[in-house]
Symmetry: D2
Subunit: 352 residues, 4 copies
Amino acid sequence: MTTFAALYVPAPLRAAVSDDAWLAAMLEAERAVATVTGAEISDDVFRPELYDIAALSEEGRADTNPVVPLARALRERAANAHAPATSQDILDTAAMLVARNARTLILAELDGAAGACAELAEAHRSTVMAGRTLLQQAQPITFGATAAGWLVGLVRARRRLADTILPAQLGGPVGTLDPELGERLAAELGMDAKATPWHANRAPMAGLGYALDAVGAACAKIGLDVVLLAQNEIGELSEREGGGSSSMPHKRNPAAAVLARACARLVYANASVLTAGEHELQRAAGTWQAEWPALSAALAFAGGAAAAARRSLEGLQVHADRMAANAAELDGDIGAADALVERALAYYRAQA
Amino acid sequence: MTTFAALYVPAPLRAAVSDDAWLAAMLEAERAVATVTGAEISDDVFRPELYDIAALSEEGRADTNPVVPLARALRERAANAHAPATSQDILDTAAMLVARNARTLILAELDGAAGACAELAEAHRSTVMAGRTLLQQAQPITFGATAAGWLVGLVRARRRLADTILPAQLGGPVGTLDPELGERLAAELGMDAKATPWHANRAPMAGLGYALDAVGAACAKIGLDVVLLAQNEIGELSEREGGGSSSMPHKRNPAAAVLARACARLVYANASVLTAGEHELQRAAGTWQAEWPALSAALAFAGGAAAAARRSLEGLQVHADRMAANAAELDGDIGAADALVERALAYYRAQA
Amino acid sequence: MTTFAALYVPAPLRAAVSDDAWLAAMLEAERAVATVTGAEISDDVFRPELYDIAALSEEGRADTNPVVPLARALRERAANAHAPATSQDILDTAAMLVARNARTLILAELDGAAGACAELAEAHRSTVMAGRTLLQQAQPITFGATAAGWLVGLVRARRRLADTILPAQLGGPVGTLDPELGERLAAELGMDAKATPWHANRAPMAGLGYALDAVGAACAKIGLDVVLLAQNEIGELSEREGGGSSSMPHKRNPAAAVLARACARLVYANASVLTAGEHELQRAAGTWQAEWPALSAALAFAGGAAAAARRSLEGLQVHADRMAANAAELDGDIGAADALVERALAYYRAQA
Amino acid sequence: MTTFAALYVPAPLRAAVSDDAWLAAMLEAERAVATVTGAEISDDVFRPELYDIAALSEEGRADTNPVVPLARALRERAANAHAPATSQDILDTAAMLVARNARTLILAELDGAAGACAELAEAHRSTVMAGRTLLQQAQPITFGATAAGWLVGLVRARRRLADTILPAQLGGPVGTLDPELGERLAAELGMDAKATPWHANRAPMAGLGYALDAVGAACAKIGLDVVLLAQNEIGELSEREGGGSSSMPHKRNPAAAVLARACARLVYANASVLTAGEHELQRAAGTWQAEWPALSAALAFAGGAAAAARRSLEGLQVHADRMAANAAELDGDIGAADALVERALAYYRAQA
């Protein structure tokens, strides 16, 4: 789905945002539309293997989206298919179905990362290290408190993503279908419903963009701190399986931390397509059609960031001796570092 | 505060994000720190007129922020001032105080806009117009339903902004002060408290950025639709006080709608500084110091967008005859347009 | 390479930024390194079919890039392969090779678009239409002058992209290889050379991002104007093959113009990864690793924008009668509209 | 002009982008229009002290820009003023005049930074330090080569900015004035001329945005490296006047480097308003009106970044002993580090 995809994104998540997944989601939306409108169409009609998403994409160029040819193909098999939906109903619902499936995978990676983080916070309550501001040594802190800070970030981002409304859409060409129909579609698909169509009010898409940004930021914060604390001269952290270099095999790079940062940058860029930009009147002429690749990429890289942060945390080696040595001449005490750990763990446990 | 500020931003909001407002907020934060730590310092010490924010900004260049020289100046008057805060405690708390004051003004503009929108939706339940997708005529809709869509966007953005957590901060140099101290500071200032310091976990700042983006988007959506429907050949809307042109005095421009769009672009750009980017270890070396101008600008332009949308809506002239004429040859009926108006008004009233 | 890729991007360009293309480029870079260092390795070693880019991407996760495992695999076949390059030399050179191939395709689409635009400008020198500012009628202009404006934008963007320096890279692990070696590599590959390595001075990558942005903007400007002039009530332009709607088969959408705008948004987002952000010391820990998917996407969508603008222009139907009718009551004359056409055509011809 | 302006931006540059500077530039453009059209208006009419830019901004709200009321005020003094210009002619020309003046100041800061950088490169040709990739020690390099890399970045950005076309504009309401008039205006003002108007082809504005981005990136790269090399455990660089902390007076922060990074972030955000986004037909309804504050801010912060990089470099203390100690156990030699210094200095001198 993207250059060197396996470098960044776990295989299940790549599948979850693939064109096959989009096709399945569009057909699931079409099937559910048939169900809630009582169209009595065999489920067989909606089997993905009957359709070729690459060909539909190519053919859809003349229509600005792949649902117009898909609807034509469906109607060849069942004349009453698709109605009264418009292509945006199917694509918006499918986008949210894709997001729902991808979200499950992202949340699992975040949970893994948070679990590893909680263990680190617990285990290192008494591991003193230098606190650093503007990258200068400032006062002592504990590594437990540092990990607790990461944990709070992860749990907060997880909550934001889990709480994001992922609504179905069934408003018809200009959004004036009976809104109860949209509610029935949402119920049929186990999705959220909006009181009114969101064809040109893209708050749900923006909300998803914000949440993915937040996931990226929480993971990149960990990646950044690990990279900094893994510098040779600091030497307080390393990744167990840190990778080498093609020309310097002795090197131990904090590879997962680096990739968490890379993924986050790609999340921010793609999410910006979802969060800024207005949609004209009852359906946008360009802003809408830009969403699909951006959504797939934002989901994929958010999961990639979470998976990388998790790998980094699960394999993190904490060099307490170096921490102690680096902090040896710092004045001050660790203050309420332990209380921060307590609070972070309580926040984490309340979430789980 | 910005080029041609009065063109974009209402005067009270310009004041609310001015350097004077920031100075007052920093001093209020310092005063509250003194109170909760029992420092027993006269309120006189915290009077803004004693300090010169331009000079503090200049002097602060050597320290990356204006609080270091401010704290020095405070200590000359009261030796126990500022402790145990760090400059970030004061600036983060001040930023949220500035945001709180600006938010009140932005919400008022949004309320005005929503009120005008609700009236339009109510009054034009039966005003048929063409629904347009990809800017092509599609099916009939009502102007009431169009305004209802705008209303839902405004109310949703309003709620997001109103619900944004604006926390105080008192964690000391590396965030390890007793967190109960931070809670006392928040209580003293009537602000939200976070369970743990957010020195380098910028979720509150990002959340504010998201909310301001959402305000910008809701207002720009209105601006965009008004601009489109005000085109001469469409002629369905006009602004009562629409401005002219230096070379074409006969023109009637939808000036407020245009400015709503311009402001939104400036919101997106400035909010991006708040929403993406990681902060190193216990305090960032650059990412943090970029927040203050971006926050002021994002607040100001969000309020500018809301005020412009409000002006546009309050002075909106609806040309029902042109709407009818343009939609005359469209097939189809307006469907559940009225139900959409009902639902939008119910959502609006539940909010108010 | 991206969701619904065929909707946006012509097939040859999809191939040019595919993982296979990247693999071929990396191997071409490795081959050229062997040549300029006199390593005497059979060309057979560098045949792409010997390597599995998906597996290399997966394996490269531990190293933050796919070249580390690729170099291992090469050395199994030829012990002196890869030296003295570092993985960044290979990837940076490969990125620029991919960009060079993709650029050829993008330029061809731009040339097609410019050709169509020049014909329109020439043919419609005398076709009077309303000039519109802030989307309000202002003074008469000609459609020839409008098309001339698009043409200038296309030619300028084309020139910027064609002039972009696409350098090879061969600096070794920390950029201290003899710079003459880098020059020899560039010569071997027919590429530009930089006087010094650009491992952490990303001006070439940023320059490419700027140029792709400029291509997107020039094409989106055309898309925007076409969409506006194709509105039913204006009716001055239409696309010959303009697509329908799944629920409204009678509609004629300016589909290509819409897709040009969608592609441009995706260019801006992806190019932003290339243009902003600093690289640490001698090689970045995250900012570099984010470039590859962003570069592929920016190239692909820039080409998609150009191809869409070209399709729109090549099939553009100009309704001179509607233009005349819409402009009928405008005061003023067309001024130097013809001189603008002359100048634009001269600029275009000088370029060709 | 922005929150804590003196913290970021040198005083002359603040003045150069102030509302007073914009007013003076608009009047200079109006004066020049009068001259080239032979309007015979006394220069006295164009004295800035006669006009109140704050009031014009406020009044201009109804017209989306301050030139409409300014033109009215001018005509009260000289009935033939302003014609045949449109407000966009004046504002676009004024924007480029403001940019030209600000550019002179930015270039001076870049020259200062480059000079300091060249001295460092020259002085430290033999100062061995560790080269670091992914923030891990890799192979030896010299500090001279590191500074040479910064120098190349500065010189390249300087050249890009210096080469940016800053054109005048005089096309009238819809851009159809005789283009020779625009050329005469450009000549009168000593500015560049475009062959055709750029009212809605914003390549000049985008080009300026790219150049300011490049300045920000070159300075932020230096800031980032200085911050990293100034970490206590690395200790290879420090700023002579590095600032303290409000709570930790013993700290030595690399304050200028930090501010260079902060300024660059603000450049990127503001420049994005200039580089992405299309302008409708003959004048944009929102995208244009967003440019002025973004341009001022991008210029100011680019200059701020350059000034901060210069301060950091001019006061940079190089701790060769720490460099040697940190690199002591690294294998390899410094390779062609000296050749890199030579080439960078040659590139710099060719520029000067």
